[in-house]
Symmetry: none
Subunit: 250 residues, 2 copies
């Protein structure tokens, strides 16, 4: 790869991602970090970017929305959300759990798709304003930590639904202990939704693998598909591949 090509790529990435992380780019291009650092140093001297510890930033900050979203490194979650959206078919009733990863799923859903979407997360419901889909909001007492409806009212409302797909978010996943979360009520709700649904699909970011939280949701064998980042360590994801779960890499 030519130097000028590489520098053009750096400029393009700054526009696209709003940031450059020297170590990541070196690994991606199979170059030493020194080379990237030299590029960044030179380009900073040429006034093309702002050098910071760990990488570089654009001289003028990008759009506020883009900034805040990518600052929180939602790239992984975006990829998971897109893969999940690919599994949805027109006419289905899908249930979407709370959480920022599932929010990315909503953002990835085509706005004009004919769907019925149920959720117990007000944040997810609010995101669906511009979508054509019919939205069923599950009410109840809001559990403050994860901001989803819980309690008897929520359980009763869920009992009337038979979703085709339940997109599940959990706090932790472990080969032996399955999917777990931190709150008793929250776990009960997720269990109830999963029991009503034809299939449950879990979206999990890498740091959750191999960890366990106090309250059990369901075993891995009850998950129809597990969506996880493609760049995970192979031995981390190996136990789940053996459990005959469908693995989707994003």
């Amino acid at each position: 790869m030519l130097t000028s090509q590489r520098r053009a790529l750096i400029s393009a990435r700054l526009v696209r991602d709003g940031q450059i992380v020297a170590g990541e780019l070196a690994q991606e291009l199979d170059l030493s970090e020194d080379t990237i650092r030299r590029d960044l140093r030179d380009m900073a001297a040429a006034g093309l970017l702002k050098r910071v510890h760990g990488g570089a930033l654009p001289l003028a900050p990008p759009l506020p929305d883009l900034e805040s979203r990518q600052a929180m490194s939602t790239g992984v979650k975006q990829r998971l959300g897109r893969k999940a959206a690919d599994l949805v078919r027109a006419g289905q009733l899908i249930f979407i759990d709370g959480g920022t990863t599932n929010a990315e799923l909503v953002r990835a859903l085509p706005r004009d798709m004919a769907l019925t979407i149920a959720t117990h997360s007000p944040a997810i419901a609010a995101l669906l304003e511009k979508h054509r889909a019919e939205v069923i909001l599950i009410g109840g007492r809001l559990y403050k930590h994860s901001m989803v409806s819980t309690g008897a009212a929520a359980l009763a409302a869920i009992g009337t639904l038979r979703p085709d797909i339940f997109f599940l978010g959990a706090t932790a996943i472990h080969a032996a202990h399955g999917l777990t979360t931190g709150d008793y009520e929250e776990a009960a709700i997720k269990r109830a939704i999963a029991a009503q649904s034809a299939e449950t699909i879990a979206l999990m970011t890498g740091e959750k693998f191999g960890t366990v939280s106090p309250h059990h949701i369901t075993g891995i064998e009850n998950i129809a598909a597990l969506i996880l980042p493609a760049d995970m360590a192979p031995d981390t994801s190996a136990p789940y591949r053996q459990k005959a779960v469908r693995i989707i890499e994003a």
Copy 2:
């Protein structure tokens, strides 16, 4: 995440939220609280914010924010919302209708007040995340235009509540025709909530006065208080003053 990005995020949050809570931000960014504290300490030393126990505050009241908000003509809604918030007492159960004016009411509510707040608006519910109040979310089919729960499920859930105050939003208000709105289901829901509540308080911006929408909610005589802008034409508000309604000017 790059350090300088994180600090930029902190600055952005200070403008947006008017405060930083160290523990919350640490959890959200998956960092130790020490790192956030160090950021706040350094930024305070650099004169970018004011360090306080538990987090940080902006140095000066965020003028640009206020400016841009009022440029979007939400200034009136903010004033209405503040006056409405003044009517709330600790320990009460209040029901908050949907809409941007009621969103300002939520923003004006003290975050640490002991309350139970019911709402059928996912947007209002999402705003209450940082509040100490218990939140009861009314579920149902989301009516897309105003993004509130409607239908039998919502009506049933409302029937179990006896709110002290219902903060009502409506599309139109007229001395003879009372409060009206554009959707049949929405009107039915608002009627049901008002019927359950000890008192109903309406927040109305100036342009709604003297107008009528197709579906009737309730008459002016059933409104305990009407909060309206102070800078309205006197003859516009005169008919409502004569109806023995309590008028609160904001």
